[in-house]
């Protein structure tokens, strides 16, 4: 076949596809082609037609095209009773014309002709149903739907109030509206959407180009257009917006809620609009979309759905930090702000509002557009917000903090064991925003997750994965998302610490701190958290005086930024007290304990844990001041109060009983120590895992008490049992295991170990 034929075949394959299937052959034969070409094209078309998976909407009947060419269809003169003036635009769904009606009065309208799909009749029927609802919408910020009908060619069309305005994002930037002005304008949009929802109409396609801003008396007025159209067009046509013949996404996925992003997912309610509003708000505030349009489309439909449905949107302040500096300057200028100021304004609280609106799970979003507007009002008037930090991350940090608190309340020798308990799983959930760069990082972190979840794994393997991740983090910009990088650095620090490698832990924690300082600034709570970690590892690495200095400064900053009674401040004070006791600076420690007690009392039941911890620290100080009787009295009182408040097996009550046991040991009342500690340990064993810091600490003193009480055999048995359990969860380098093994060896003395004991002790130096 000559080349010329190939060219014709290619061209006429595509042109013939624009014909109705039944007419293709006849049409082809009219084109004056050779028989061979006609046969070939028909054969190809037959193959293409069967291939329906990739083409959910087979375009059966496109409107007749004048001239039969590939050119743009001409503008019709008239559609229904409307005279067409000009074309306003064209989207994936259809063409919008500016049109005019002369009867009964002259009125300019926007007329949207929908590209015909397989069920335009059904679309019209649905539109008729919707019309009633659309007609009763009367809101100054909603462009009314006036009419609907069918063109001569059979395509449905909708007639709307004509709004001469700019998309809200463009308007705000062009007029350089401040954040406050933007928020106020946006609230009126929420009002409009709420009104429609109240009338039972969901928009389903909210985006800046559907929220136009005009000026009335030189004040901006927003108008939402296209209300109810997506619904009227129904699922058959609605899904067409997303896919063209080639499987390309041509809609506006940026603003689409996760529940809308699935193919055939039509369980959509008003909260889908809340989501879209959230994205618009995000863009209004930050100047960029939560997910970069290019990366959103780069991975094809499946990738796009994955991002919309699974990736968490970065915080606006983070997103801004990731944008190039000149871009940020421009964005800030459009808001009449200095870049730094914009960042901090977003970072303080405001950013939680769009984030809450675009939660993946609609149950976690604002319940309505009104609630969203109300929260914006809260922000503008300085009231507390409904929105807050993401719960998962928040919980994870709280978890970490609680455990750290536990450490300090315990005896310093075993301090190091606790760290790392908070694991790092959350920190390893990386947003797959940029696949290219993320891939490598993911691979390293996947290995790291494996290594972390199996801490008994042999050292070489663990070390290898850990070092790889650590090296990536430390080498600078290789992690795609600095926020995760910071978390992972912290996670690696914990892991190193678990292996007793404090200098490495300290190095990584410092790296994490550095990243967080860059991302969040000095005064953000996560940065303060990171400083506390650095101080802890410093302490554990033996640099105690240095650590003390860091903690003192941190405490001052905590008080300045958050106040005297905040969790973080209390936590820091606890760490400081631990450090002071470790340095044997008992008087200073006592002063801090008094402050902690006072704060605990001011906070009341909500911070009971802190109060208990403070009282136990006070006991420790009393013991060191040789006021044993007073210490015992305070411990007894603490136990009684806690049991009354939370029952005998609350974490704090068990912890307090352990301290009481330590005191009996201190008072050389070994029988009493055993009587207190053994049941406490059993209760802990039931409630917590073997690696729980409380269990580890209680095991150590229980063994000591048994041994002191002359119950050597029981002591050995207990040591064996706990060591067996612990070895299932931690590696041999873990300080907890080493400590326990040391005790077991001491108990055995010169006695040769049994095979079981030898197995338990194997590999431990």
């Amino acid at each position: 076949m000559p080349d010329h034929d190939g060219d014709q075949i290619y061209r006429f394959f595509h042109r013939a596809r624009d014909q109705a299937p039944a007419e293709r052959e006849a049409w082809l034969r009219r084109q004056g082609l050779s028989e061979a070409v006609v046969v070939e094209v028909l054969q190809l078309l037959a193959g293409a037609a069967r291939e329906s998976v990739l083409r959910p909407v087979e375009t059966g009947a496109l409107p007749p095209r004048v001239g039969g060419g590939l050119g743009v269809p001409p503008i019709p003169e008239k559609i229904g009773p409307y005279r067409v003036i000009s074309k306003l635009g064209e989207g994936g769904l259809g063409v919008v014309y500016l049109a005019e009606r002369r009867e009964p009065m002259v009125q300019r309208v926007a007329l949207k002709v929908v590209k015909p799909g397989s069920d335009s009749a059904a679309a019209l029927a649905r539109f008729d149903q919707e019309r009633q609802a659309l007609a009763i919408m009367a809101h100054p910020n909603i462009a009314t739907i006036l009419d609907g009908g069918q063109t001569e060619g059979g395509s449905p069309y909708f007639v709307m109030e004509y709004v001469q305005g700019a998309p809200i994002t463009r308007y705000c930037d062009e007029k350089r509206l401040t954040i406050r002005e933007r928020l106020e304008l946006f609230m009126s949009v929420c009002d409009a959407v709420q009104h429609a929802h109240h009338k039972g109409v969901i928009h389903r396609d909210l985006k800046p180009s559907n929220i136009l801003v005009t000026e009335v008396d030189r004040r901006p007025v927003a108008k939402v257009i296209d209300f109810g159209i997506a619904k009227a067009m129904g699922p058959g046509l609605g899904s067409q917006t997303m896919y063209t013949e080639a499987g390309l996404f041509v809609g506006t996925p940026e603003y689409m809620s996760p529940e809308q992003a699935g193919v055939g997912a039509f369980d959509v309610d008003t909260r889908a609009d809340v989501y879209s509003l959230g994205v618009v708000l995000y863009e209004l505030l930050v100047g960029v979309l939560p997910f970069d349009s290019q990366s959103l489309r780069a991975e094809g439909i499946a990738g796009l759905q994955k991002i919309i449905r699974e990736s968490d949107a970065p915080r606006p302040s983070t997103r801004l930090r990731m944008a190039p500096a000149d871009r940020v300057t421009l964005i800030a200028e459009c808001r009449r702000e200095a870049p730094d100021h914009l960042r901090s304004e977003l970072g303080r609280e405001l950013e939680w509002i769009p984030l809450m609106a675009i939660r993946k799970d609609r149950n976690e979003r604002y319940a309505s557009a009104r609630e969203l507007a109300e929260d914006i009002g809260n922000y503008l008037e300085g009231r507390p917000l409904i929105a807050g930090p993401e719960s998962a991350a928040y919980r994870a940090r709280k978890f970490l903090r609680r455990h750290k608190a536990g450490v300090i309340a315990s005896s310093i020798v075993l301090l190091s064991i606790l760290l790392g308990i908070g694991a790092t799983v959350r920190s390893l959930l990386i947003r797959a925003a940029d696949l290219d760069r993320t891939r490598q990082a993911l691979r390293a972190s996947a290995e790291l997750i494996d290594a972390l979840s199996d801490e008994t794994a042999d050292d070489a393997k663990f070390e290898n994965s850990l070092n790889k991740a650590a090296a990536l983090i430390e080498s600078g910009e290789n992690w795609p998302d600095l926020d995760s990088a910071a978390d992972i650095a912290m996670g690696c620090a914990h892991a190193y610490n678990n292996r007793g490698r404090h200098p490495d832990a300290l190095r990584l924690a410092k790296r994490g701190l550095e990243l967080r300082q860059r991302l969040y600034g000095d005064d953000h709570v996560v940065t303060l958290d990171a400083r506390q970690n650095v101080a802890l590892y410093m302490f554990l690495a033996g640099r105690m005086n240095e650590s003390l200095e860091v903690l003192r400064k941190l405490l001052a900053d905590d008080i300045r930024v958050l106040g005297e009674d905040e969790d973080r401040t209390l936590n820091c004070r606890q760490t400081l007290i631990g450090c002071l006791i470790g340095l044997n600076r008992i008087e200073e420690a006592d002063k801090e304990v008094q402050a902690l007690l006072a704060a605990g009392q001011r906070r009341g039941p909500a911070a009971r844990d802190y109060l208990v911890d403070a009282q136990l620290l006070r006991c420790e100080i009393l013991v060191r001041q040789h006021k044993l009787a007073e210490a015992i009295a305070l411990a007894d009182r603490t136990i009684a109060e806690e049991e009354l408040a939370n029952g005998p097996n609350s974490r704090a009550a068990l912890g307090a009983r352990r301290v009481r046991g330590v005191m009996a040991l201190e008072a050389r009342d070994y029988a009493q120590a055993v009587a207190i500690l053994i049941p406490t340990l059993e209760a802990m064993n039931e409630a917590f895992s073997a690696r729980d810091p409380y269990v580890i600490l209680c095991t150590a003193v229980s063994i000591d008490s048994l041994a002191q009480n002359g119950q050597l055999e029981e002591a050995v048995k207990l040591a064996e049992r706990q060591l067996r359990r612990l070895r299932q969860q931690l590696g041999v380098q873990s300080p907890a295991i080493q400590e326990l093994a040391k005790r077991l060896r001491e108990l055995l003395g010169d006695k040769p170990p049994t095979p079981e004991q030898a197995r338990l002790l194997s590999g431990i130096s």
């Binding site: 595509h14 390309l248 439909i301 490598q440």
Partner: protein
């Protein structure tokens, strides 16, 4: 001329200047590297005998860009060459496997989603290869689109960038090529 193979950077520079011979050399140079990487993918128990070109090509790029100091501008060239290389590799791999095992000539190329799937999951590699060669002879651009789509796993937008044509054209080419290949394969079977 030196007998040692030119470093990738040199090959890239030459290919960038539009010297067709260098493109061939580039494909050859990439072959061993991609084979080494694909080998580790193939040995991966979890994926069985399936290949994920997108992943592989991305990984290869990251690797090369780092080890050979290539900048982003080389990526387009790389992708085009990698697609060709990768196709060769797949065919060779399938042949080799067929030689080892009796019968069962089907190699499954796994793509993450339907959009990336070649419409002939169970076709024999030989038949597919023959059809692709036919396409290349008659419709070189369309063939390149297919390679980039299915052997480098590129999205339409990226293909359009690589070839310097519109996305619409890429979509048209894909539609056409799929129909064309399907017709050829139907003839062959």
């Amino acid at each position: 001329m030196s007998q040692t193979p030119a470093p990738l950077t040199v090959l890239f520079d030459q290919a960038r200047d539009g010297r067709p011979a260098s493109r061939e050399a580039l494909v050859d140079a990439l072959y061993d590297r991609l084979r080494a990487m694909a080998g580790s993918f193939l040995q991966d128990e979890r994926s069985g005998h399936t290949l994920q070109p997108t992943a592989l090509v991305n990984e290869a790029w990251i690797h090369l860009a780092r080890s050979d100091n290539l900048d982003e501008s080389g990526k387009t060239l790389f992708l085009a060459a990698a697609a060709t290389t990768f196709r060769r590799l797949l065919i060779d791999y399938a042949r080799q496997r067929n030689a080892q095992k009796r019968g069962g000539g089907a190699l499954r190329i796994s793509f993450e989603d339907a959009e990336h799937a070649l419409p002939f999951p169970d076709a024999s590699v030989e038949a597919l290869n023959a059809a692709l060669e036919g396409l290349e002879a008659k419709y070189p651009r369309q063939h390149q689109v297919v390679e980039l789509k299915y052997f480098a796993g590129l999205p339409v937008r990226a293909i359009a960038e690589v070839l310097g044509v519109s996305e619409r054209t890429v979509a048209n080419d894909l539609d056409f090529s799929r129909a064309w290949l399907k017709a050829r394969m139907a003839e062959a079977s």
